[in-house]
Symmetry: C2
Subunit: 273 residues, 2 copies
Amino acid sequence: MKIGESIKRYRVKPGDKVDLAAWDAGDCSLFSGGKIESQTVFDELRDELQALQKVLYAQNKHRVLIVLQAMDTGGKDGCVKHVFSRVDPQGVNVKAFKKPSEEELAHDFLWRVHPHVPGNGQIVIFNRSHYEDILAVRVKKLFGDEVWKRRYRHVTDFERMLAEEGTTIIKMFLQISKDEQKRRLESRLANPAKHWKLNPDDMSDRARWSEFQKAYEDLIEKTSTDQAPWYIIPGDRKWYRNLVVARIMVDTLRGLRMDYPKPDWDPASVKIV
Amino acid sequence: MKIGESIKRYRVKPGDKVDLAAWDAGDCSLFSGGKIESQTVFDELRDELQALQKVLYAQNKHRVLIVLQAMDTGGKDGCVKHVFSRVDPQGVNVKAFKKPSEEELAHDFLWRVHPHVPGNGQIVIFNRSHYEDILAVRVKKLFGDEVWKRRYRHVTDFERMLAEEGTTIIKMFLQISKDEQKRRLESRLANPAKHWKLNPDDMSDRARWSEFQKAYEDLIEKTSTDQAPWYIIPGDRKWYRNLVVARIMVDTLRGLRMDYPKPDWDPASVKIV
């Protein structure tokens, strides 16, 4: 898989206009083979991710926050499962955000999010996030428009603070096409073992597909910053989506130029008797 | 006690320069009598505060955050004890922030603060606060200068978000003179029952009095906003300090124009058989 510069094509630069129709959810142009051929490359990436996470944990210095957003069936759960399957669970937390509780709604929208941000040496993955408090609030008209409009600034302020205090932030929108969502919903419907993943809300959200796309476009445009960039990941092919996410993770962690901490004593001076 | 407009003399307007030497810690000019005469007025204020807090709690709509900062012996504990002594403890939480733990230091500085902000219907008092992460970090040189300088923006961003999401924020610096601090420290030293409140750090902080004053001046200048104003409270006379704090609390809660919530059923229609 081509790496480095080329993976940046999925990154939204601050100020870029975002037109999701111009992004191909079925794209797999950075890999020359198909699903079968991708397996070896994916394995290598997972091994490197595992090794990098070990240093991150040992060094106990950097904090890494991954935000995953997608339409229903977009692949957030599958992505976490496959990309992070070999990483030491002690250093990686996944925090899923559901519909806010009454107590959560009685506070500012970042109140339930902040306690879960990563500390030193940790990777935290947000499966949904504070961005739902813009997206869902806007499309489902849960509060007046002034509320979600103000929140663009609130999230960029919040993420600036996190970044300046030492957190590396990567935000990924797993993009799928409306046709692919239809296939995945039908497949869930046909499989009783997957009915727990279905929700009547998914259908009403699907009915508002274009409103959600518009909401995502504005959101990504207004909140993709140097400190906390958005990536739009082609998600129709799961193997390619996983490959790209793993690649971004590895590039990001490499970029931290980490090293195992040096002991502040001389190992040669130790005698074990 | 003169109220309303006149109490605003203690409020620092955005953009005001702050020279603490020009503020008189011994001021008691808004009250014509002395300590004895103040008692009746103070009692009335406490009664009104109690009544206002009841509505705040019942209405379950507004959130009120009080930030108290002061030099050692400045009267934060005493102020909380006297002003809020009659308020229903169920609706008022006091959160004291001590030296951050290792786990807290392994996160952004607002991480330990955010979980304690008030929810609907609540008053929360911060006894010390996120402002210590600017003041102490600056004067004691705990991190590089760039860290505390960035944090002015972080706290104003944070407080803007809280305010726009529905929180009323009042910040109070209880100002005492260096002479008054000497008297209070000596009095603590002379009283074994108060030795638990003494800390060798207090003496080294006192030795850096002028650096702390400068740090407070900059901090108040840079973080007094319309959404989260600072008040500089004359603190040398405890009775006057309490009177002013109670007055500000009452004026602030009155300003919310609260009302008991109307039931969404008709009480006249209820028959208790």
